[in-house]
Structures are given as structure tokens and as C-alpha cells.
Homo-oligomer: 325 residues x 2
């Protein structure tokens, strides 16, 4: 698992680094099925009308990617992310009239399921007198609403859910989605809330079997993942409206990092958020302004994603109008 190609990579252009990443990645399972589902979803939604206009499509990425340390993966470096931001935002994008491709980490939070307990099956039911089970009164409305909203979105072809685990799966699927969405032009949005690995072990450098634990010290050398945000903006989906996220635990460097990301990746906006206050407050950083978005805390059920998605949807409208001039 030594990163023997480190010096080689550092001098390469970004395009060459991206190509090397994809060439060496393990092939994506089910890529034919994913491609079919994607094309059907995009065709259906780009030809259907919402208030007399073609529907907008957003790709929401959600949850963390893993970087395997072994080919037959036992150990991996993971990024903490519950997927709460992506799942919640998906609900508000649907409410705002978008069709949503929800590219999410397997097992992370799902849209419409946030108000349910961790283990809904075991906690939402109770036994009845006739040896049967029923949904508990306290959860009955929440379970019904979760099921109905989810069912309506999926059956109505407004929500397409695609799961990933590794950084290899995530980037291969993001590329497929971006290229499939080119036909949507500026009506496409990327809302990149996933916590994507910064470092990985290239597949060909990886040991095949489980790392043996004989020695007192384990030294893991990882190389930087090519900065695919730039490639997405420049090559994969140059017309799409692109939002990325910057999460830090240290507030003193957050806005500078967000500004740097805006410039470096040429994003339309970067949503800056801090780990401890991320459900209360985010700052939307664009080249022209910094807008603080706060959760309306008059009711505990309110989400910061409600005003955030309203703001981004308005900016997207302006962007579409600008593009057509």
C-alpha cells in the first residue's frame, strides 16, 4: 500500500490525474442498470413541464465516501457524515419543484425518514390484543407521512436514489450523472453535500489481502484524490449550476477555506458550515457576497435547509435567465 506513484502524479495535469484515477479504479458494478435508470429519469423530467417550463434537475450528493486500504476490503478510512444535510435538502428541493438524483452513501439518512426513530421497525410498532402488531399511535402520523412522501416522489419519477460506498464508486457515478445531465444545460444543478475522501490508496498500490497486524506501528500512506470538482465544472457539466460545501471544525479558517474553494473550483456558490453549528447556521459564499442563513427557531421542526434551498433555487432561476440571454 505504498503510494509509489506520488512523485509522478504531482507533476501531472489535473486531466491526466483524473484519467489515471478512473483507469486504475475497480469497475463499477451495475453500471449498465445505473445508466438506464439515469437516462430514463432525465428524459422523463426534462420533457415534463412545471408551471409551463421544463423541470429542473438537481443532483444531491450525501454521506461520506470510504477509501479502502485493502482490495478485499476489511479496513478503510471513512469520513464522518450522517447524510442528514443531503436527505433534508432533498425534501426541500422536491418541495421547490426539482427532480432529485440522490447520490448517497449506503445506509446514510434517507429523505422523509428523519422524524422517525433510529430503528423504526422495532420502535414504531406495538403488539395488539389479537397477537398482531400495529403502528404505535405516537408514530402513526410520522410513519404514514414518511411513507407517503417517499412513495409519491419515487413513483412519480421525481426522486432517483443511487447508493455508493467507496470513493471509486462515488466519482464514477458522479461522472456518469454529470455527463447524462449535459442535455439539461443550465437547468441542471449539482449540490455537492457529500463528505468526499481527500486521500486514497490507488487500487493498484493496494495489498490484496488483509493487512497483517504483527508490527507495533502501522504506517498508512495515502495520496490526494484528484480535485474532481474542477473537472466536473470544466469538462463534465460546464453549463450546470454548481454548489459545493466546506465543513470545518475550526471556525477561524472556515470562510477563507470557502473563498479559496470558490475560486479554485470555479463554483457558483460554496456553503460554509461548522461541525457544531451546522444544523443552525450556514454561510452561502459567492464571488459577490456572503449570505448568512439561519434556521428559523420559532418551531423546533424547522430546518436551516428550508431557507437555504429557497435562496439557492432563486439564484438558480437568475442563473438560468442569464444563460438564455
Amino acid at each position: 500500500m505504498d503510494a509509489s506513484n506520488k512523485h509522478e502524479d504531482a507533476g501531472k495535469t489535473l486531466e491526466a490525474q483524473a484519467k489515471a484515477f478512473f483507469d486504475s479504479a475497480p469497475p463499477l458494478h451495475n453500471s449498465h442498470k445505473i445508466s438506464q435508470d439515469l437516462n430514463h429519469f432525465i428524459q422523463h423530467n426534462s420533457s415534463s413541464l412545471e408551471n409551463g417550463e421544463a423541470r429542473r434537475i438537481v443532483c444531491v450528493t450525501s454521506g461520506g465516501t470510504t477509501a479502502p486500504l485493502e482490495q478485499r476490503c476489511v479496513r478503510y478510512v471513512d469520513n464522518f457524515s450522517s447524510g442528514h444535510r443531503g436527505a433534508t435538502s432533498t425534501e426541500y428541493f422536491l418541495k421547490a419543484g426539482y427532480a432529485v438524483i440522490f447520490l448517497h452513501r449506503r445506509g446514510s439518512f434517507q429523505p422523509f425518514c428523519r422524524s422517525l426513530p433510529d430503528d423504526p421497525l422495532l420502535e414504531c410498532f406495538e403488539p395488539t390484543n389479537d397477537l398482531n402488531i400495529q403502528v404505535r399511535e405516537a408514530y402513526s402520523e410520522a410513519v404514514k407521512r414518511a411513507y407517503m412522501n417517499h412513495h409519491t416522489a419515487v413513483e412519480g419519477c421525481l426522486l432517483l436514489k443511487l447508493p455508493f460506498s467507496t470513493i471509486f464508486e462515488y466519482l464514477q457515478m458522479l461522472q456518469m450523472i454529470a455527463i447524462s445531465m449535459r442535455c439539461v444545460g443550465p437547468r441542471a444543478m449539482f449540490y455537492l453535500a457529500a463528505a468526499v475522501s481527500d486521500y486514497y490508496v490507488p487500487w493498484k498500490d493496494m495489498v490484496e489481502h488483509k493487512i497483517q497486524s504483527g508490527s507495533h506501528l502501522l504506517d498508512v500512506k495515502l495520496v490526494q484524490v484528484p480535485k474532481m470538482l474542477s473537472v466536473l465544472r470544466k469538462d463534465w457539466a460546464p453549463q450546470a449550476f454548481c454548489i459545493s460545501f466546506k465543513l470545518e471544525t475550526d471556525s477561524s479558517i472556515l470562510l477563507n477555506k470557502a473563498n479559496a474553494a470558490l475560486d479554485k473550483y470555479n463554483m457558483h456558490a460554496v456553503v460554509a458550515n461548522e461541525l457544531l453549528t451546522r444544523k443552525e447556521r450556514v454561510v452561502v459564499v459567492t464571488s459577490a457576497e456572503k449570505i448568512t442563513v439561519l434556521r428559523d427557531n420559532s418551531e423546533s421542526a424547522n430546518d436551516v435547509e428550508d431557507p437555504l434551498i429557497k435562496l439557492l433555487s432563486e439564484r438558480h432561476t437568475a442563473y438560468i435567465e442569464d444563460s438564455s440571454r
Copy 2:
């Protein structure tokens, strides 16, 4: 995150290494509540009778532990483990008359829920004509059985579920459980199916904030986790019947590794299993014999854990009888 104390640690006795690990670990949340629940569970079960004898208690560990790379944890090294082995084994231990302490990774497989789809809430229901929802016919028996079995075990004080995520939480809880179970003597069993991190970054060596991703290469140095199986056997629960697991992807080294673990940690048995065939076949390695246990594949619903737990339960009976002589 440099492991500056590596040379220091290598020369220490195991007891000193274990002490250093616990002294430097972040304090366990809810330790008072966990301790209360544990004591109540153990008292209740050690005084209740099963066929005229005090009930046996097994601690089943399940799922993988994480080793955080940052104190405010964004990145961590994780061990792949669905928790399927531990969840399934728990069902068979309950069937065999044991009370089970299920020490499991948060979000891993739960006992009695294996036959349900991944996302039971969204997949098990269907809308009714009167704008309500009901359990789908195809899942109705499975949902009812899952709920009822789980409910009966928890309400009957036969199943205590304790969740962990990090290696720090896991080892602190395992120590609490082992010490609380001393009073049960040889009627206690440890069935250690969790995939426990071999390496970690000591808490005090860890950076507080998120690692910055400026440089091309990330070099993560981890030190070996003290071999707590030895400490469990020798100090925490010297009278308990102890089973550990050895999972490898390389079959050529599996049995040697299992034998080595048996000797090194003084286990009563080691269950050897290979990643690709782990649901079909395991080998129980004791100092006297190697017993291959196969899934009865006459029915697809059969589990290899069924004959495995029967065998271990018999061996445990013999161990209890030997201990009382």
C-alpha cells in the same frame, strides 16, 4: 497524529499498555446509565432459573470499531463488518436459553431483523384505498415475527443492547461488562465476534481539528491496540468461557492464525472464518481439536450459526461442569 510514544509503549508490560490506553481514552458517555442497566440485567438473570439452574449469560460483540484520526472526529479508520454474525448468533443464543448482552456497532445488523429489506419502513408498507398505509402482504409475517421476537426478548430482560462506535467506547464497555459479569463465574460466556481495530491513534497524539488537505501525501501513523483479549481472560473475567474469532481473506494462513490466537490469548475456542465463505463454513479451533461446522443447506433459511451455537453451548456445559468439580 504522530505516534510519539511508540518506543516507550513497545517495552511496557501488557498491563501497563492497557492502563495507558484507558487513562488516555476520552471518557465514556452515559457510563452511569450503562452500569445501572448492566447490573440490573445480570442480577435479574443470574437469580432466575432455566430448567432448575441459574441462567447463563453471554456477551456477544458485533460489528466493527472505528479508530478516529481527529479528536473532533471527521475522519476515521473503520473495519468492515455488517454485524450479521453477531446478530444471527444472538438469536440462536436466546433460543438456547442464554441471556444476551449484545454489544454492537451503532447501525449494524440487529437480531431478528435479518429477513427484512434494507429499508424496512419504506419497503414493507403499501398505501391502502382510504389514504392509509399497511404492511405489505409479502412482509407481513416477517415484520410480525421480527417485532414479536425482539419485543419478547427485550421486555423479558433476556436481551440487553449496548451500542458503540469507537475502539475507545468498545473497550471501555467490554471492561465494564466483564467486571460486572464476574459474579456469574463460569456461567458467563464471551463470544467476541466484533471486528476490533488492531491499530489506533492515541487520543492525546491526535490533532484536535480536521486534518488539512494541502499536501499531496497523507502519512497516517497508527500504533497497535493493546491485546485486550489477554487482559479479559486474565484479569477482567478469569472464570468466563471465552470464544474469539479470526477472520482472514487468505485461507492459507487462517488456521495457523487461529491456533496462534488460541495460544496467545488463552481462549477456550477460536472460530476461524474466511471472508468469502463465512456464511457457509467455520472451523472451531480448541487446544484439542479442529471442528468444521457447515451450514445445513437443505433449506435456504438455515444459518451456520445454528450448529455453531449448539456446539459452543454444549462445550460451555462441559466447562461449567468441569469448573464445579
